[in-house]
Symmetry: C2
Subunit: 261 residues, 2 copies
DNA sequence: CGCTCCCTTGATCAAGGTCAAGCTTGGTGG
DNA sequence: CCACCAAGCTTGACCTTGATCAAGGGAGCG
């Protein structure tokens, strides 16, 4: 939940240009997910030759921390995890990314990627040379403004994540994760209360700053109290209100206490 | 450690214009801290009427989470803490900000402030209307590019913070905090190994996701092992190498083990 | 002078990490 | 097509870290 979200490149004025550039498989689920769709009737055909399609298999890396920054990436299908490693080699997953999310903007400052990105499943990506982006956006100042908004959104998202990592107990973290992921996937057109994880429990645990065992135990507990139904990588939210209570750190209802005791 | 850093507005071509706009007390410590100094000989006088000076006393808020976003702020002197609150009212301090740091960029997306900012001491701030910024930057595309870099830097900083909050043990967190803060203040011209905190222990603890008592105990312990010398709000780094070891999670040296046992 | 806020230190406790073991499942090769 | 293997997941037992509770000390301010 920790990416440049909502960077769907959607063309209104020129239906085929951008979409074609980005690749045919990209669907623009909603208007508000678009960077380009707010640009009005600006001529978009300049983008036509920009996008380069790329397919990664599970486990393949899109880029690594330290790589030279030269491209912006947009996830078209599949999913990606991003992570940073500390001096000691400790790895922290910083986000999971779904179709429409943009990757690698951090690098603009240093000229280096500040994190690594790896496909969680077979994933297709659209790559734009940053050089081209800069050149073209000079004649389209609104595009840059739109980017500010996107980056601002990302910044505020990361701040919320600090709340999760800094203040929440394990239960809250997991409940929050489930709700956020559910919302995230729902906004991309998936079914209402059921979702399928592309990441392992280990990934989830790392992302939440917990041990795998804790995640596993809590999922079992959530299932035992009928908050969710879990089977392997697929999860169904059964009791959203109580899950939200948990996420906010409220005491579980009496019913829950009884069951989980 | 979690702001838009290094937004010193420094004029090269027109020595008095920007600097005057920002306020006379702002010093541009180093070249690389500047947004504007990379703009070359672009005419900067347009900024002249932009900045509005504002002074806050300790405890006063610059803005609150949820406020309408309409300005960008640059810290000129003093210091500021920023924080987010969750649905449950839990507060998480997301960063401390020093002269040259920019505040409130997150709001560009939603039109609302996504966090609150409060002065830690008497602090002077320069306020720019975002509207003006946008208008002017249309004729100065480099200014926007510079902003991308600044925001990219901020994003990568927040990612590092996830590593702190998600993976590090208390000792590591505090050691990291001391080193980061020291570096931060050093780059602003303060003495090499001594620093003075403007924030309370409670603030530090909250920022690091710890309890006050833990911070207090660890500081005492660091002092007992001659890593630092502490007196009230002032701290002197005595043994940087071993502090760095601690920050990276390495076992303390034999000497340290003996002493702290 | 005394009050309040901040900080420190000690004692106890619980959340969650670690270690260990076994189970499930999907992929691979025979 | 089946058997086996490795990777991932679950569950249990135990232990460590750091939170919580409690009490007291100092410094700045009215």
């Amino acid at each position: 939940m920790n990416t440049i979200k909502n960077l769907h490149v959607h063309s209104t004025a020129a239906p085929n240009s951008l979409k074609a550039a980005v690749g045919s498989s990209l669907n623009c689920y909603t208007r508000k997910h678009c960077v380009a769709c707010k640009l009005g009737d600006i001529h978009l055909s300049q983008f036509e030759r920009l996008g380069k399609r790329r397919v990664l298999r599970k486990g393949e890396q899109l880029f690594r921390q330290g790589d030279t920054f030269q491209s912006l990436f947009v996830v078209q299908s599949g999913s990606v995890k991003s992570s940073v490693v500390g001096d000691d080699g400790e790895e922290q997953i910083t986000g999971f990314h779904f179709p429409g999310d943009m990757l690698s903007v951090d690098g603009m400052d240093s000229g280096q990627q500040t994190y690594s990105a790896e496909a969680l499943e077979t994933t297709s990506i659209c790559e734009f040379a940053f050089r081209d982006f800069e050149r073209i956006s000079e004649s389209m100042p609104d595009l840059k403004s739109q980017f500010f908004k996107v980056m601002g959104k990302e910044l505020s998202r990361e701040k919320k994540r600090m709340l999760v990592l800094g203040r929440m107990r394990a239960e809250q973290r997991l409940a929050t994760f489930i709700l956020d992921t559910s919302r995230e996937l729902r906004s991309r057109g998936q079914a209402n209360d059921s979702l399928t994880f592309s990441m392992t429990r280990q990934d989830i645990a790392n992302y939440l700053g917990l041990a795998v065992e804790t995640v596993s135990r809590l999922l079992s507990q959530f299932a035992a109290t009928d908050l969710v139904r879990v089977q392997r990588r697929s999860l169904e939210v059964l009791d959203r209100p109580n899950l939200e209570n948990l996420a906010q750190g409220f005491q579980p209802t009496a019913q829950l206490i009884a069951r989980s005791a």
